[in-house]
Amino acid sequence: MSCDICAMIETKDEFKLIYEDETCLAFLNEAPLINGQVMLMPKKHFTIVEQTPDEVFGHLMNIANIVSVVLFETTGSAGTNILINNGEDAGQIFPHLIINIIPRKENDSLKLGWEQKKASDESLKQNAELIKKYADKINLKEDPAKNKPVIQEKKETPKVVDAKKEETHKHDEPDYYIKQLERIP
């Protein structure tokens, strides 16, 4: 895997660990918006939320909850933000799922909000119809992360087995194919 974060997780050097268990890690961001910003990530490689299995994502959110409480008490903040940037267009820097937990204070001038402009009724209608088409097909029992295996480990099939299969399939074909296969050491 060419993922920098997976390599970092293996070596476990040079970062300020806060929490660790079998499935995930959390550590302090060393270039944060505010001191105390935490990065939480699974140990296994998942690039985006849609690719993480349900159990793992649920576990991550519960731990993010605990971390937000701890940050609230230790940094003296008045609130916390939990933010997942899911995709390149969203500003995801590393191809590895990261949950950011950011402690907030009143009037801290962080731009994690947006202008409160009301959307037009037409656009709301159109969008609602479009989204409902796909949202009606939501099935909580089918996990999209498990149906579409993204990471496929290439299994090297041994050549000897293939040769035997070819032999069984090619009974009717001329003998010189079999002779060629027999030559393979």
Partner: protein, 304 residues
């Protein structure tokens, strides 16, 4: 784990100002009213635990608001089951937004507290479709002071370990170089023999043993501190001679020249005679005759 107990005081004080933590949530809370159907909304998804609705004031078109049907003011007040259920649903909704083609990326945001941007006192998750260069939710910051981070880190680890009831990180994971510690055991106490000797003798034995061990425990002293005078003789050293103590205990000297090696004994009583020091300095080998070979050898070696 009931996290709501941890920090109720502060959150309640914050929310009570804005009227979020009200007992009559079903009548005052916007989301509870939406769920009840008393406020119009564009519902997208609904099940027995949660509801998803289109945001009226979105960051980008198509923003979805997901909230539980039960009234929980903030995330720490919601039980674990509900959080896992909501996270699974938010994952499905994010996938739906990608399928519609609004966007190629999404952001999932939770706001806990008024300072974090929460406007309604009811726990909710925002799922926001993102576009390139929309200048929203930038998390990159500036490098922080290491000392501050380290002190913070220690506080956080302590607090987390308290809450979890176990250490939050394994202490063995730290890769510090092992310092070799040399443990010097103090001398063992003297075991009192069965026949109890008088106390004085026993104490002397202890003192002696301690002295024996002193040379192990204390570093070796310098040569200048250990030397001591054994006898006063007053021999003046001259150049060209090597002075040494005989087997007999007398001080002797030998001239440091290749040709002649003469030992001269100087006793304490005898005076220093120059004649005694006369040695054949100039040496010329005479013709060696076979007849007088032994004589010649004796002359050469012994100087006679």
């Amino acid at each position: 784990m009931d996290l709501s107990v941890c920090f109720e005081k502060v959150y309640i004080s914050v929310f009570s100002k804005k009227g979020f933590m009200s007992d009559d949530a079903s009548q005052n809370c916007v989301f509870c009213l939406i769920d009840a159907g008393k406020i119009p909304s564009k519902k997208i998804y609904e099940d027995n635990k949660c509801v998803a609705v289109l945001q009226l004031h979105p960051a980008n078109e198509g923003q979805v608001l997901l909230f539980p049907k039960k009234h929980y003011p903030i995330m720490p007040h919601t039980p674990q089951d509900e959080i896992t259920h909501l996270s699974i649903v938010s994952k499905r909704i994010s996938l739906v937004l990608l399928q519609t083609g609004f966007c190629k990326a999404t952001t999932i945001l939770i706001q806990n507290g008024g300072a974090a941007g929460q406007q309604v006192g009811h726990f909710s998750i925002h799922i926001i479709p993102r576009k390139k260069n929309d200048l929203l939710f930038k998390i990159e910051g500036k490098p922080a002071d290491e000392k501050e981070l380290d002190t913070l880190r220690i506080k956080i680890i302590k607090k987390m370990s308290e809450m979890l009831g176990r250490p939050s990180i394994e202490i063995n994971m730290k890769k510090e170089p092992e310092k070799q510690v040399i443990i010097v055991e103090p001398p063992k106490e003297v075991e009192q023999p069965k026949t109890s000797p008088p106390a004085q003798i026993v104490q002397e034995k202890i003192i002696i043993k301690e002295k024996e061990c002193d040379h192990i425990l204390t570093p070796p002293k310098k040569y200048s501190e250990t030397k001591e005078k054994v006898a006063k003789i007053g021999v003046k050293k001259e150049d060209g001679y090597l002075y040494f103590v005989d087997k007999e205990g007398d001080i002797s000297r030998a001239k440091m020249q290749r040709r002649q090696k003469k030992e001269e004994e100087i006793d304490e009583e005898d005076k220093h005679d120059e004649s005694a020091d006369d040695v054949e300095e100039s040496y010329e080998p005479k013709g060696v005759d076979e007849k007088n070979l032994l004589d010649d050898i004796s002359r050469v070696i012994l100087g006679r």
